[in-house]
């Protein structure tokens, strides 16, 4: 009987657009769904540091190096907020990392693509963070309080990242022929994976049903993808970049762009571990984690020792 009352309270809160907080009762499936989604996002922030970190030592100016370092720190900081948000649901960071290493938790597919030239740092900031923002803005109104508040903070920083990425691309497009070629090449390689970031078409998206009912997710994959395309096409045109899609066309009736079909075969292959960098990214994370074990142990042993010294 008690459970039914809890369920009613929960449903009423969702109905009224009130936040669910960590101490509130929530259905087990809601909790699970959130843990899966938040941890995936946290892991994405952390794994996403790798393709960008790949260019720290080679950034072409001191200013660019500073911006890149600061950006990567922001991403790591987002990972920390999100791990904390997941922890409010009763799961520790160690367990979440274990799930990542076991392959039971995912991270965004986009980071399984390589960052090959400096223009990729521009493309990642502009397109990848740009796509992430569209999704995250929508998640600011998600029903779970700690998650929603983390998203509000994250959105502020991500929009700054997107501008920085765009600035790199704009500078390169205003530069030498080599730079323009590099920028267009990065655009060609990152455009389609960026569109894939929104996930499968609404008709093929397995998690959509409950996520909508519980207001974890507020807008559909296709809706968000369209929003991203519509704002990005113009930005590309302004700096002279071509969108690598022959079928891209303004649809006057619908007031949005029609676009070519996404290569879903590639999408599922990458999700299933066959992207160019899946093994590299995960192995790097595992290696750092394993090599750092003695350091983490030392820190916790020392903390215990300090505590016992104080209590004596």
């Amino acid at each position: 009987m008690e459970n039914i009352d809890h369920q009613k309270v929960f449903d009423a809160k969702i109905e009224q657009d009130a936040n669910i907080e960590a101490k509130d009762w929530m259905p087990e499936d809601y909790r699970k769904h959130l843990i899966r989604q938040i941890s995936q996002q946290a892991h994405s922030e952390v794994i996403g540091m790798q393709p960008e970190g790949n260019w720290i030592t080679r950034a072409p100016s001191l200013r660019a190096k500073k911006i890149l370092l600061a950006k990567i720190q922001d991403e790591g900081g987002h990972g920390l907020y999100l791990y904390s948000a997941a922890e409010t649901l009763g799961i520790g960071r160690d367990e979440l990392i274990k799930q990542l290493h076991d392959g039971n938790a995912k991270y965004s597919n986009i980071f399984n693509y390589p960052s090959l030239t400096w223009a990729d740092i521009g493309a990642i900031g502009w397109l990848v963070d740009g796509a992430a923002i569209v999704n995250q803005v929508s998640l600011q109104r998600t029903s779970y309080g700690p998650y929603s508040r983390a998203m509000v903070r994250i959105c502020k920083e991500e929009s700054f990242h997107q501008r920085q990425g765009y600035e790199i691309m704009a500078n390169m497009m205003a530069g030498t022929a080599d730079q323009q070629e590099m920028a267009q090449d990065a655009m060609n390689r990152w455009w389609w994976p960026a569109l894939m970031m929104f996930g499968p078409h609404d008709t093929d998206s397995p998690h959509t049903g409950n996520a909508f009912k519980w207001k974890i997710k507020r807008q559909s994959n296709d809706h968000l993808r369209q929003k991203f395309i519509d704002k990005t096409v113009q930005q590309a045109e302004v700096i002279g970049l071509k969108i690598p899609d022959n079928q891209l066309k303004w649809n006057e009736e619908k007031k949005c762009y029609d676009h070519g079909e996404i290569n879903w075969n590639e999408f599922y292959e990458v999700i299933n571990g066959n992207g160019p960098c899946n093994r590299q990214r995960l192995n790097n994370h595992i290696k750092a984690h394993e090599e750092g074990e003695w350091v983490r142990k030392a820190a916790s042993a020392y903390a215990i020792k300090q505590k016992s010294t104080v209590s004596q």
């Binding site: 952390v46 720290i56 080679r58 072409p60 001191l62 720190q73 790591g76 400096w118 350091v295």
Partner: protein, 252 residues
């Protein structure tokens, strides 16, 4: 030596140290033992690059050849770099990086505390900003030295080994030449050799709290004051300068 030449050499030395150490710390990205440390190490890299930027900008101004800070960072060859050998040493394991940070931050803490009183207004202003960061770097390094040193055999051994391995590069921090003499006489910069006593006393304090021993006196490496480096610097510059060298006409 002309005043301008001495001031330029001093400023390049001061700028090259954080440039190269910032490079090394940046290499820790996605490799640290825990996310918080990944952020701490790259945050220190950011402090270092920021400091290098203002110092090299000042060096370019003193030089008076219309160069920018980026020209000095990205277009100088390895024989014209004046950073201490210790900052170009590879990161090694976490203990090794901490030992390098400890030696350097303690030195920088003493050096920049005095540089704040420099009669050169630009250097004094730079030192005022840098000292806040250096205090944090020193605290970070000494906290970790104690955590690792004052632990089980394995940890203690790794930390002691790192302290010992890097010892031969510490003598160079206190080398003082004609430039230092001239600059200290004018009240522009401290005389490095004068700092060694304090450095050792404070180091011994930290090491004894960490239950580590001060390495025995041994032969000290030298060279950077004349632009002579270990083999590592060439690779650092090949990496750092790659885009600027490959596309000399490009602006980023």
């Amino acid at each position: 030596m002309k005043h301008q030449e001495a001031l330029l050499t001093l400023t390049l030395r001061l700028g090259d140290n954080p440039l190269v150490l910032g490079h090394r710390l940046g290499e820790w990205c996605s490799k640290a033992p825990i996310l918080e440390e990944d952020l701490a190490l790259t945050n220190m890299a950011l402090d270092m690059i920021g400091r290098a930027e203002v110092l090299l900008r000042y060096a370019a101004l003193i030089e008076g050849k219309n160069h920018t800070e980026d020209d000095l960072a990205y277009k100088r060859g390895e024989r014209k770099f004046y950073n201490h050998l210790i900052v170009e040493q590879p990161n090694g394991n976490f203990a090794f990086t901490i030992a390098r940070q400890l030696y350097v931050s303690l030195y920088e803490f003493l050096y920049y505390s005095e540089l704040m009183n420099s009669k050169d207004e630009t250097l004094s202003a730079i030192a005022h900003k840098a000292i806040k960061e250096i205090k944090y770097h020193l605290k970070h390094a000494s906290d970790w030295t104690i955590r690792l040193g004052d632990g089980t055999d394995e940890r203690h051994h790794k930390m002691q080994e790192a302290i010992n391995e890097l010892w031969m590069f510490t003598g160079e921090l206190f080398e003082s030449d004609e430039v230092d003499e001239q600059m200290s006489e004018l009240g522009i910069a401290p005389y490095p050799a004068d700092l060694i006593g304090k450095w050792k006393t404070e180091l011994i304090d930290i090491l004894s709290e960490a239950k580590l021993s001060l390495p025995e006196e041994s032969y000290m490496q030298t060279g950077s004051r004349n632009g002579i480096h270990t083999e590592y610097l060439g690779y650092i510059l090949a990496d750092m300068q790659y885009l600027q060298r490959a596309y000399p006409n490009a602006k980023w």
